[in-house]
Assembly symmetry: C2
Homo-oligomer: 199 residues x 2
Amino acid sequence: MTVKHALLALLDKDESYGYQLHGLMESALGDPWSINIGQVYSTLSRLERDGFVEKLPEAELAHDDRTVYSITRRGKSELRRWFREPLSRDDRLRDDVYAKLALSRISRSVSPGEVIQAQRRQLLKELHQLTQLRSSADGPNELPYILLLESAIMHLEADLKWLDLCEQKLEELDATPSPYFESRPRGRPPKDDGSASGA
Amino acid sequence: MTVKHALLALLDKDESYGYQLHGLMESALGDPWSINIGQVYSTLSRLERDGFVEKLPEAELAHDDRTVYSITRRGKSELRRWFREPLSRDDRLRDDVYAKLALSRISRSVSPGEVIQAQRRQLLKELHQLTQLRSSADGPNELPYILLLESAIMHLEADLKWLDLCEQKLEELDATPSPYFESRPRGRPPKDDGSASGA
DNA sequence: AAAAAATACATACTTGGTATATACTAGTGT
DNA sequence: ACACTAGTATATACCAAGTATGTATTTTTT
């Protein structure tokens, strides 16, 4: 979703063509947002299909080897809509690490403790790297980049605190015998052969 | 990626079929991870293609209308690999809200302040909802779900703190006249017509 | 002049995800 | 008894996002 609107925003500032948009996007949003050049072209053609951008007539072009796009009225209104609409963070409830941890309790091919430890090592490594970057990024023009780093750092710290919480809670669990993470199908039971355990 | 390994983990516990796996996945990982049933089948066929799972021979089936899969040796080893390998969080550097904020400074069709405010309202709303859920989820069997909620809450709080930081930094910026978020292409300059400003 | 790098676009492919079509079974109401 | 609804079960078509690759031209470097 965001790539689409990033291109719209860039085109809202000035008409442009695929290759240039690719560079603009990287310089506007930084390395982590630099996308595959091919994606620029496919996204542009989808935007054109939906009437958000249009090709400049060739007559106005200085170079026949470039396909220059400009934003349309529909595109501008879509962009405004996107800007005003806040982004939902409910995808935070679909966390990969959580899933892995939960699955590790089911599958027994690895212990949750191991998963937590390995994950913590990784997070500490990444936190270290980001902190390095953060302290070396001090130029006055780097404010946006610094804000991005701060964001990532804050979330990494939250991840680490959460791992501690998990470890603690799981220890409490292991002390008691009750079976958590019990997993059984919701619907009709497996019906192996017509035998025992009928409701 | 995770859906693939979730199915592997479930099959590692016990052989199963698509429809059942769908239910198992929901009861093991909770609502936010409940996926479209169609995705189970396409993921299973990809897993089969890659040799991670295989269909049970029909002879062993009690019901000819079910396609039961079991995990293979390759599948088990892939699963172990995934469990031991920590997940990278470097995608935290590709934050949608950050991108939106940066783009809002470029496009001028909306002010960064507005974006921050709208986003904060949204986050507060979501935080409220999660806090409600958190306090009503107190059954002993809900520990995993509680951990998930805690995680989401912690990250929402980080988001909110980050928005405050942004607001503050942007105010400092607006007080000074220097042009941040300057965006120019990296490569060859636009070459409009063969005229001024040649290198 | 030749080699390397940058510019520019397009297409094929993979993956993740949604929507939809189909068919069968079991229970429920009238 | 009949229709309706809900549940079980699979498969396919479709779309969007993203990667890899192919190709051609131009500019810069050696």
